[in-house]
Amino acid sequence: MFEAIAFYLFAALTIAMFTITVMTSQALYALTAMAAGMIFISAFFFILGADFLGVIQIIVYTGAVMALYAFGMMFFDTTRTVVEKRDNPRVIFILGVLAATLVVFILVSPIISTHIEANYPINAAMGNSETIGLILFTKFLVPFEIAAVMLLVAMIAGIVLAGKKMDKSLTLMAEEEIALMSATQAKPETEEGAH
């Protein structure tokens, strides 16, 4: 009973928040609503017994991602109303609803959901975080490491792209400038090669 109340409450809240995120014309509202939506989602994780995931959800999304967005938004003029040219809003809604219906149909229909066997069963004796840790560092070690590397790469990419020395960034320079720069740098490099 408690679970049901919690589910419906959070479901309503999440939907409301995300609708605001999608529909509002104020960037700040959207940001705030999304942050709230993320936290509400973490509630579902807690209900579903995925404590670790819930915590991660709050830390990563509400903490890191939202902070990142907030920083990002500082570059832009966020106070202004977001003006968007919209054509055929009906098409958008029809497509969205259709996609939702189909996804739901596929997921709900018993064909798929009944045939799943547990590869890594939840061990009641251990805590959720413990179990996850165990699996993550045994079965999913390689993906985990790859994900880590990917995050590192993303971090470096973020720094390079948005970093301080933007005037030297290759992505910002015209072709001629790059050519000029490489020409000037060519000399010292060859000298280095001579050593």
Partner: protein, 629 residues
């Protein structure tokens, strides 16, 4: 004896190849002499073989394998037996004469060497045809003579009519050849061999319908080569070729190949008398049909060609009624006098500067005495007057029809005999008697070279004696192989009435022809514009009919097939598919407008489509498995 067989067979080929070496160079009389000489050698070998066969032997050789695949085994095998030796003699005699004659006849022609090359090649093909010991070997010769006939009809290739006639002859023969091939296929798949001896010994074991089909298809093949109705039109048109060619190919040898085939396949045909009756009826019809066309024609060579057609009809009557030896006998006799007639016509043509209309000739008796004698002799023989060759062979066919109680056929043949006599002497009378009408055209006729006349002489002799002298030994020889059926009318009175009656009828026809045409030619306008005259003069409108019914529609259909179907339907479909793809690209490339927003929208549409498909397939799959369960 085998060596003689090979000599008889390959001497003409050697002559042909020798002449071919000089094919493109200007006239060298050596080619004519060598080719004639080699043919004479072939003739001598044939005579030796004849002698050998008369003693009751046969020669059978297998030279080498030709086609062998799976169970099929076809060798180049040759057989000299009582039937083929007769044909060999006919072919070698007539062709030797024609070769020697041609040396004179083609004297001034640019294609002299080429001519001998073709002519000897023809003789070779004909030898293969008659000597082969299996059906496919016969077919080689069959097609070979067709090829040579094509080459020789179209010898003067700059003439449109000649090349047209050559193609017509070849294509029409091809129609019949298809039937013959089918006949050969049936034989092979039912008997497993194409060798005559195997086929003929096993043919009786086959079910009746199959034998009938074999008989029908082989006969259709024979019809093409022997120009039987309805495949007869090519023969008259084939007269476009040089006259010696007409004498050799379109009178004496090639056109009788059909008769030879029926005679050779007599074990098959004697099992199916119904088909035989059909053959005989068709033969009688053609005899009459061709004779009527000859009555009014104004082209010397065509008249003789129709006469040939008519006589071939006689032969088929005999063959169809089971009197194979009679058919073969008439074939032989006919070869001699008809070749003679043609060669005589060749002399006349030379004298008249290639004029063919006998109404523009006349009174040639004086300048061309020997030709006149020989042609009259040949005509008498053709008419069947005692004691010349025609009497013994042609009247025999009448007797056969009578004895076999086919009285309708008998009547038709009798009437035709009268017609034959009439048109033959109409021709002779027009050419040699009466006023010298050619003088109006400024032509001064002259007799042919002496050696040409000497060359014709043996034929003249044979036309006289072939019946009287050869009949008994011939009969004794061929009945080793062919059914020995004597045709005697047992009632002596009937026999004499018939014989004398026929003779009188024929003589009356000759007299009428002389009366009408010997003195002055009165052109009766009323008769000429009459329906029957026009019908006959236009060959029953059959060539026109064929043109309208087959040639033109075929040409038109071909054009439609190419312009409409091939280009506008088949190819256009392919191009259409390509265009649809291309246009789709043209149209949809606006989708790639680079606008990320619309791309996202397309992405969602794609997602929805995929989801729909997923759902549809799953539902469908479940439905199928449910039903299966």
């Amino acid at each position: 004896m085998e060596i003689y067989l090979y000599i008889a067979l390959f001497a003409p080929l050697a002559g042909s190849l020798f002449s071919a070496l000089f094919g493109a160079s200007p006239k060298t009389s050596v080619t004519g002499i060598v080719a004639s000489g080699l043919l004479f050698i072939s003739f001598v070998s044939s005579a030796i073989l004849l002698n050998y066969v008369m003693m009751g032997h046969t020669v059978h050789v297998e030279m080498m394998t030709w086609i062998a695949a799976g169970d099929l085994y076809i060798p180049f095998g040759f057989v000299v037996d009582q039937v083929s030796v007769v044909m060999m003699m006919v072919v070698s005699v007539v062709s030797t004469v024609v070769h020697i004659y041609s040396v004179g006849y083609m004297d001034h022609d640019k294609g002299f060497n080429r001519f001998f090359s073709y002519l000897s090649a023809f003789v070779f093909s004909m030898m293969v045809l008659v000597m082969s010991d299996n059906f496919l070997g016969l077919f080689i010769g069959w097609e070979g003579v067709g090829l040579c006939s094509w080459l020789l009809i179209g010898f003067w290739y700059h003439k449109e009519s000649a090349t047209w006639a050559a193609n017509e002859a070849f294509i029409m023969n091809r129609i019949a050849d298809l039937a013959m091939l089918i006949g050969i296929f049936i034989v092979y798949w039912n008997i497993g061999s194409l060798q005559y001896d195997v086929v003929f010994s096993q043919i009786a074991n086959l079910p009746m319908p199959i034998i009938t089909w074999i008989g029908i298809f082989l006969f259709i093949g024979a019809m093409g080569k022997s120009a039987q109705f309805p495949l007869h039109t090519w023969l008259a048109d084939a007269m476009e070729g040089p006259t010696p060619v007409s004498a050799l190919i379109h009178a004496a040898t090639m056109v009788t190949a059909g008769v030879y085939l029926v005679v050779r396949a007599n074990p098959i045909y004697s099992l199916i008398p119904e088909v035989g009756t059909v053959i005989a009826s068709l033969g009688a019809f053609v005899a009459m049909f061709a004779a009527t066309m000859a009555l009014v024609n104004r082209d010397m060579k065509r008249i003789i060609a129709y006469s040939t057609l008519s006589q071939l009809g006689y032969m088929f009557v005999a063959a169809g009624l089971g009197a194979y030896w009679v058919a073969l006998f008439h074939l032989m006799a006919h070869a001699f006098f008809k070749a003679l007639l043609f060669l005589g016509a060749g002399n006349v043509m030379h004298a008249m500067h290639d004029e063919l209309d006998p109404f523009k000739m006349g009174g040639l008796k004086k300048p061309m005495k020997w030709t006149w004698i020989l042609m009259t002799l040949a005509s008498v023989a053709l008419a069947g007057i005692y004691p010349l060759a025609g009497f013994f062979s042609k009247d025999l066919i009448l007797e056969v029809a009578f004895v076999e109680q086919h009285y309708v056929l008998y009547t038709v043949l009798l009437l035709t005999a009268g017609l034959t006599a009439f048109y033959s002497f109409r021709l002779v009378a027009l050419i040699f008697n009466g006023d010298e009408r050619h003088l109006e055209h400024g032509i001064h006729p002259h007799e042919a070279y002496n050696f040409m006349l000497y060359a014709m002489a043996p034929l003249g002799l044979l036309a006289v004696i072939a019946g009287m002298v050869f009949k008994t030994p011939y009969y004794e020889m061929v009945t080793h192989l062919l059914p020995a059926l004597e045709y005697h009318i047992h009632n002596h009175t009937t026999f004499w009435i018939m014989t004398i009656g026929t003779q009188l009828f024929v003589i009356a026809a000759i007299a009428y022809a002389y009366k009408k045409y010997a003195k002055a030619v009165k052109v009766d306008k009323k008769v000429e514009s009459g329906f029957f005259y026009q019908l006959l003069y236009n060959q029953y409108y059959i060539p026109k009919l064929y043109d309208e019914l087959f040639s033109k529609p075929y040409r038109e259909l071909s054009r439609i097939a190419w312009k409409q179907i091939d280009l506008k339907i088949v190819d256009a479909t392919v191009d259409g598919i390509a265009n649809v793809i291309y246009r789709t690209g043209e149209k949809t490339h606006t989708m790639q407008n680079g606008n990320l927003s619309s791309m996202l929208r397309w992405m969602v549409i794609g997602l929805v489509v995929l989801l729909v498909l997923a759902v549809a397939f799953t539902v469908g799959y479940n439905a199928v498995t449910m039903r299966a369960m």
